[in-house]
């Protein structure tokens, strides 16, 4: 193989690579354009309850509460998913009261259960539980377990059939979530021992709307321009190819 044939081979390969690159560009652009309507956007809204300096007492007057969040603006696109996150931080304490004789107790525990119920009945739940503690207690005595700081998050998905209740649809208004909390107390001991507790919590309710946006005209311009250029180039090549064949016939 001589030098001229090698150079010729490289030139041919370079031409083919250009064609391949061009074809890839065209296909990539087309795919990007086709994929655009399926791109997902999210919108997150949240509402807090209580605060670290002023937590809401479980069993107190703060619960049950109504948390109102804005509905989804349907003009933004089509909803594909709605997730609800309830996050709670609490300080819990287990208490033991003895009306009997001095005795031992085991597994004294306080468990806080915080629930948020959406307009469609979707429930998000957070459970905060102290570790069980054991001890001895005298007659007529009151023993408090340690303050325990706990946090947790509960997540839930809204059923597709209930999406309409979360969309504005020009009616306006908000989403009403019912927030409630209960404190469960338990323990093991002989008659006369009583198990209780107290807890304060705060946190937030968050709704994440996932939707397919309606494409804006300006965002379509680059893709349409590229397709136009590609189409024009293709048309030009086709014309040249036909003129070559016409000349060869002549």
């Amino acid at each position: 193989m001589d030098l001229s044939s090698s150079i010729y081979g490289l030139a041919v390969m370079s031409m083919k690579l250009k064609q391949v690159a061009m074809a890839g560009l065209v296909v990539g652009s087309a795919l990007t354009w086709l994929a655009l309507p399926a791109s997902a956007n999210t919108e997150t809204i949240s509402e807090a309850f209580g605060s670290s300096s002023s937590p809401w007492a479980i069993g107190g007057s703060d619960f049950p509460a109504l948390l109102t969040l804005p509905k989804f603006d349907a003009s933004l696109g089509n909803l594909t998913d709605i997730e609800i996150y309830l996050s709670a931080i609490g300080i819990l304490q287990s208490d033991v009261y003895n009306l009997g004789v001095a005795t031992d107790f085991i597994n004294a525990q306080a468990t806080g259960i915080i629930t948020a119920t959406g307009p469609d009945g979707t429930e998000s739940l957070v459970t905060l539980a102290t570790a069980p503690f054991n001890g001895s207690i005298g007659s007529g005595a009151f023993v408090q377990g340690p303050d325990v700081s706990l946090s947790g998050t509960g997540a839930s998905h809204v059923a597709l059939s209930d999406f309409r209740e979360y969309e504005e649809n020009g009616i306006g208004g908000g989403l009403d979530f019912s927030l409630d909390a209960t404190l469960n107390s338990s323990g093991n001991g002989p008659p006369g021992l009583f198990f209780g507790g107290d807890a304060g919590v705060y946190g937030a309710l968050e709704v994440v709307y996932t939707y397919a946006p309606v494409p804006e005209p300006r965002s379509l311009f680059p893709e349409l321009s590229l397709l136009g250029v590609c189409g024009f180039a293709g048309f030009d090549r086709m014309r040249r190819y036909r003129s070559c064949r016409w000349r060869s016939h002549e």
């Binding site: 009306l99 469960n184 107390s185 006369g192």
Partner: protein
């Protein structure tokens, strides 16, 4: 003569029956109750208990015969309930008040003892007034009866006139109690145990025949004796 032959076996039978009388076995039973379904005894409730208690049962009357066995039987029906304590100045509502695994044991003399199977009660809902305790609800279980014999060396304590005292004690093993409610601090959840039942004493003895029965026997024996003597006299006079 013919009449005498017929009568003879009757006299013999009566005589044999009279002779067998002292070996007759007899049973006498007395029962004493403790508590009742409407007013059970308190095993443990907020540090209170009505145990130990003493039940009085009639002693065995030795004139009836000779004691062979004394058997004691303890029967108990036990109650386990959930209770709620409110230490705040406001009424509190509660739900899910429950107790599980409560075992009540009643013990008497001579290893007499009943134990309930683990009892559970609840969940119960309701309201508890400020600074008070309320019984939320309960469940009842019948324990298997316990039977024990009294040692013959102790028969003396159970024999004579008057009453014999049978002591009973009761206890409740630890159980799990739980619940939830309004207020801060929340209501407190505990449990209580009650019991009611009875002690039965059974005296087994061999009865001493009554004077009337003895007379009939002796009369029959006498008639037999006279008849025998008359026949002997006849035989002798013939010979």
């Amino acid at each position: 003569m013919k009449k005498t032959r017929i009568l003879n076996p009757v006299f013999v039978a009566v005589a044999l029956a009279a002779a067998a009388m002292p070996a007759r076995a007899a049973v006498e039973t007395f029962i004493a109750d403790y508590g009742s379904p409407s007013a059970p005894m308190v095993v443990a409730d907020d540090g209170q208990t009505t145990f130990p208690i003493a039940l009085n049962l009639s002693k065995f009357d030795p004139s009836l015969g000779t004691l062979t066995d004394i058997i004691l039987t303890l029967s108990s029906t036990d109650i386990v309930g959930s209770e709620v304590l409110n230490i705040t100045g406001s009424a509190q509502s509660y739900s899910g008040a429950s107790v599980s695994g409560g075992v009540v044991t009643v013990t008497g003399p001579n290893s007499l003892q009943t134990s309930s199977s683990p009892l559970s009660a609840g969940p119960f809902s309701g309201t508890v007034a400020p600074y008070s305790v309320v019984h939320a609800g309960s469940t009842t279980g019948v324990a298997p009866a316990s039977t024990t014999p009294v040692q013959p060396t102790d028969f003396g304590n159970y024999t004579g006139s008057g009453m014999v005292s049978v002591g009973l004690s009761a206890s409740a093993s630890p159980a799990h109690s739980s619940g939830s409610g309004t207020g801060s601090p929340s209501p407190f959840f505990g449990w209580y145990a009650d019991s009611y039942g009875s002690v039965e004493i059974e005296y087994d003895y061999t009865a001493v025949p009554e004077p009337g029965t003895m007379c009939a026997g002796l009369a029959a024996m006498s008639v037999c004796g006279i008849e025998l003597a008359r026949r002997l006299r006849q035989i002798r006079s013939r010979s």
